[in-house]
């Protein structure tokens, strides 16, 4: 069993597969050091889960659909909310996570935006560290093998049988390429829209999994759905720019102000105000900034000082520290923030057992689509990774119980890919990868950003092809050991393949829904039918698309009809 990635989805998959059958030969491949890569570790707020008597799976399910504007895959959303309860309990009782408690000793759950019940389990405001540290230790305990600083470049195929055989992997420390073959492969490298001017994920994230899946011909869905988190820190010129101040701040009652001192959320959403969902708040802030009511750094201000210095320091120690490093003081003064590219709701089409349509290929976590529809609720992200990582480990163990055949990779494919990826090494003239990446970030920010428009999206689709052509001419130093520029180039190519999908898909959704806002189509069109946009890679590298109606299996939005069944 080959697991690409080492965030929560990948680790839970490996642990669950091992516990189902300790004889499985499991290998985790991560481009970072063990347990250090990915976004799961960076989770601040927490994990949405139904634990309280007063809460119910039905409520969590409906919150998830409302947040996702009803284009979620309902089977996936149902699995998420139901299995989250078991998953979080196993994380406490088997893996040893210890989440914050109420004074009576039971698990504390806090308020998050878009939820009808306070159901977010957390550890302070740095929940991801607890989850990933504890699960990484469990990987050690089971002796599951980890190849660290190895980067997967592409999935490999058995051409005759149309099965995935494993992956072409690069050893970052030496630059050597190797073929890793397995009877079953999981892609769980995580998304992370780092192809934007401001982004929340760490800069090592580069959409590797999504790009690999696209190139492997896997069907993808809703790639236009890119969530912008409303409160990314502004530190001009620093790589830290875009890093988050967590959602719980707004949950706890922090205010947002424009440069005229107006608490503008009262105007955009008088009812929920700052506690509206991320798409609404991000769009409101963006409109304020674009209308010239932003601060000099290009953002708005979040103010938590009225909650009390002690309250902020006690409940948000990580955020307080993060702001102080850059000379701000969250506990006492407003901090300048901007919407920041944060999460991809779209991804590979999978079923609730994380299976794709291609034999032996599984996808979990942010690389998979469908769960969150048009907008993800804060706290549903780490829940998604953990729940579907767990689903995937169990499903892969079941699959491997009956079939441990390892098909043979197509040797021509391997050679072709190796030549392709080595091509820029030692080239003496051509563009520098980082320059192209910066151009792509600006392109996405302006033309495939928070508010989109038809013509700009059409231009973006052409410009990304031009950038791709330039990227194929880029120059990279020839030494292969720990060659970070080569890594930047590989990331750039993946970001470009991703933008091919997102820009095309965004041009086809002629409405405003959730995270996808169109200035030329400002209305949400429930009446004309709810649909998902599916795509796969065409011969020329550009996506071939198809719209299909959403299966409203368990619930429909109030604007359409009564639910078919409870």
């Amino acid at each position: 069993m080959l697991t690409l990635g080492m965030g929560a989805a990948a680790q839970l998959a490996a642990l669950n597969a091992y516990d189902a059958n300790p004889d499985l030969n499991i290998l985790i491949v991560t481009k970072a050091l063990r347990g250090k890569g990915g976004c799961s570790r960076m989770v601040q707020g927490g994990f949405n889960v139904v634990l309280d008597q007063g809460d119910s799976h039905q409520k969590h399910f409906m919150d998830t659909l409302k947040g996702g504007q009803f284009i979620n895959n309902q089977e996936m959303a149902k699995t998420l909310v139901e299995q989250a309860t078991y998953t979080i309990k196993e994380m406490e009782t088997i893996y040893g996570c210890f989440f914050d408690r109420k004074p009576d000793g039971t698990v504390h759950q806090k308020a998050f935006a878009g939820q009808s019940f306070d159901r977010t389990v957390h550890k302070g405001d740095l929940t991801g560290i607890e989850i990933i540290s504890r699960t990484t230790e469990q990987i050690m305990k089971r002796g599951i093998r980890v190849l660290e600083e190895h980067r997967a470049l592409d999935l490999l195929y058995d051409r005759e049988r149309g099965q995935v055989t494993g992956a072409l992997v690069m050893n970052i420390r030496t630059g050597e390429l190797m073929v890793v073959e397995a009877a079953a492969t999981l892609v769980a490298t995580g998304g992370g829209p780092t192809c934007y001017r401001l982004c929340a994920p760490g800069p090592e994230k580069s959409l590797d999994g999504l790009a690999m899946l696209y190139r492997a011909g896997v069907e993808m869905m809703d790639m236009e759905m890119i969530q912008f988190h409303p409160t990314g820190l502004i530190v001009p010129g620093s790589v830290v720019a875009g890093a988050l101040l967590e959602e719980g701040l707004r949950g706890a009652g922090a205010y947002l102000y424009n440069s005229e001192g107006e608490r503008y959320m009262l105007r955009y959403d008088p009812e929920k105000k700052e506690r509206a969902t991320r798409d609404v708040v991000s769009r409101s802030s963006y409109l304020e900034i674009m209308a010239g009511r932003g601060y000099p750094g290009g953002g708005v201000m979040i103010d938590a000082a009225h909650l009390g210095k002690d309250f902020v320091e006690k409940n948000f120690p990580g955020m307080t520290e993060r702001t102080r490093l850059f000379g701000y003081d969250l506990a006492r003064k407003p901090v300048e923030v901007s919407p920041t590219a944060h999460f991809l709701m779209g991804g590979a089409v999978v079923n609730k057992d994380t299976e794709t349509a291609i034999p032996r290929l599984f996808v979990a976590g942010e690389d998979a689509g469908g769960v969150h529809g048009a907008n993800r609720l804060g706290g549903n992200g780490i829940a998604d990774s953990c729940v579907f990582g767990r689903q995937s480990g169990k499903a892969m163990a079941r699959f491997l119980a009956t079939d441990r055949d390892i098909p043979e990779s197509d040797p021509e494919m391997v050679q072709g890919l190796a030549d392709h990826y080595r091509a820029p090494l030692g080239r003496v003239s051509g563009p520098v990868p980082a320059d192209l990446r910066d151009r792509l970030r600006e392109l996405n920010w302006i033309k495939v950003g928070i508010v989109r428009q038809g013509e700009a999206l059409a231009e973006a689709q052409e410009e990304v092809e031009e950038l791709m052509a330039e990227a194929m001419q880029a120059k990279v130093p020839k030494e292969t050991n720990y060659n970070m520029i080569w890594g930047e180039w590989l990331s750039l190519v993946n970001m470009l393949d991703f933008t091919r999908m997102s820009s095309k898909s965004a041009s086809l959704r002629e409405e405003t829904r959730g995270a996808h806002a169109r200035s030329d189509f400002p209305e949400q069109n429930d009446a004309t039918g709810l649909y998902n946009i599916f795509l796969r890679r065409g011969e020329d590298g550009r996506p071939v698309t198809e719209k299909r109606p959403v299966d409203l299996k368990y619930a429909s939005p109030p604007s359409i009809a009564a639910p078919k069944e409870a």
């Binding site: 309990k89 040893g96 740095l126 520290e321 000379g327 970070m484 520029i485």
Partner: protein, 419 residues
């Protein structure tokens, strides 16, 4: 924000490429920095790489002090590049080096394998004391939770190990990060590996010389020193009983006998076995397969090695005399492969045809114990610990008898199992 926003700074960056060999050197780069407060060392490295030298290698991931990938030595002190802003560093010239002790992969990038090896030896993983389907009820104001507090926020960046003067030099010392994690589990009432974990931590915790370097440098403001003191206290209250529970001394083995002799159980082996059987018993009580299989995999870890003490016929001793024989062998610990030259105390009982080999390491703080032929006692010069000829404690601070080696005779040579 302060008055001076920015200006020119010089950065001296360590460069080393193992492929090219040599000793490594520093390259100097001048940068004009607009705002010292808004520029992290990680930003500086990206700029040097982009504007001056593409071949520079460093490591990063999250850039917000949550992953622990960018630990390095900044102006002589360990820290995270992403969490150190230029304004924190008052010198006109700023020096950047890789973490101490670790093998260098390239430039500022080190191989963290020795760190993880020591960390894993501390058994850093939770093992449920009993099967539970619901999270335990633990009030946040209980002593255990206060003791654990934020110490579980460790991000394994390696800064503490780099700053420690003992972790690198002492092969048995697990180091601050590993012991800090050990403490958080020892204090956790939900954990089921308490005794085994404490035994491992106790072997190690007295090697800390309380210099507080780790506490000083920890980017997450954790104090491993506090954790180690906590283990000291636990060792005093639970240590002696623990040794008896976990370590029945192996019987001496018969002298020239059919070979190989049935290996006796060494202390470390016993730990492994007891923990596995613990899993099996628990398994019967419906803990499920998880803990059993997981533990058996984990306890394969410690590497043992048979070391020859030379031909048996040459080991002659008067009745009641203990021989001191130097064992020479190489061993690999977290950081190094090194040559050992270590006295082994061998007691021959020709009448009963038995040989017993004691580890000369004092069970108190690891000094070397010697045999006093007049007094017929083992003595430790450091803190006055004394042991009877059978290895049990006569007086002084040692918490348990001298450790005994597992022995065998093969090809006329006497071997001890060095673990």
């Amino acid at each position: 924000m302060a008055e001076t926003k920015g200006g020119k700074k010089t950065f001296k960056v360590f460069r080393y490429d193992p492929a090219k060999g040599g000793e490594g050197h520093f390259d100097t780069f001048d940068l004009e920095i607009e705002d010292y407060y808004a520029t992290t060392i990680l930003d500086v490295l990206f700029r040097i790489q982009r504007e001056h030298d593409q071949s520079l290698s460093f490591r990063y991931a999250c850039r917000v002090a949550m992953c622990g990938s960018c630990g390095m030595v900044i102006n002589g002190k360990e820290g995270l590049a992403c969490k150190t802003v230029v304004a924190d560093l008052k010198t006109p010239e700023i020096t950047l080096r890789p973490l101490n002790h670790f093998p260098i992969v390239k430039d500022l990038t080190v191989d963290m394998e020795p760190f993880f090896k020591k960390y894993e030896e501390a058994m850093p993983y939770f093992d449920p004391a009993e099967e539970a389907s619901e999270p335990a009820i633990v009030r946040p104001d209980t002593w255990e939770r206060k003791a654990i507090d934020m110490a579980t926020d460790c991000i394994a960046c390696g800064c503490c190990v780099s700053s420690c003067t003992m972790a690198f030099w002492h092969k048995d010392y697990l180091g601050p990060a590993a012991l800090n994690r050990s403490m958080t589990l020892l204090a956790d009432s939900r954990d089921g590996l308490h005794d085994e974990r404490l035994a491992t931590a106790m072997e190690s915790c007295y090697n800390c010389r309380l210099e507080f370097n780790c506490t000083e440098v920890c980017p997450k403001e954790i104090s491993p020193t506090r954790a180690i003191k906590y283990i000291h206290r636990m060792a005093i209250s639970q240590g002696p009983g623990l040794a008896q529970r976990l370590s029945p001394a192996p019987e001496p083995v018969a002298l020239p006998a059919p070979e190989p002799l049935t290996p006796e159980m060494s202390r470390r082996r016993f730990l492994g076995r007891s923990a596995v059987s613990l899993g099996v018993v628990a398994g019967a009580a419906l803990v499920g397969l998880v803990s059993v299989s997981a533990l058996s995999a984990a306890f394969k870890k410690p590497e043992c090695k048979w070391v020859s003490l030379g031909p048996l016929e040459k080991l002659t001793a008067a009745p009641g005399e203990v021989l001191t024989i130097y064992a020479d062998y190489s061993l690999e610990d977290g950081f190094y492969k090194r040559q050992e030259h270590k006295p082994v105390l061998v007691e021959m009982d020709r009448e009963k045809n038995k040989v017993t080999a004691f580890n000369s390491r004092c069970t108190h703080l690891g000094c070397t114990v010697h045999w006093d032929q007049q007094k017929k006692l083992f003595l430790c010069a450091c803190h006055g610990g004394t042991f009877f000829p059978d290895g049990t404690v006569k007086s002084g601070p040692p918490p348990r008898p001298l450790d005994r080696y597992e022995t065998k005779v093969s090809g006329g040579q006497l071997y001890v199992l060095e673990a």
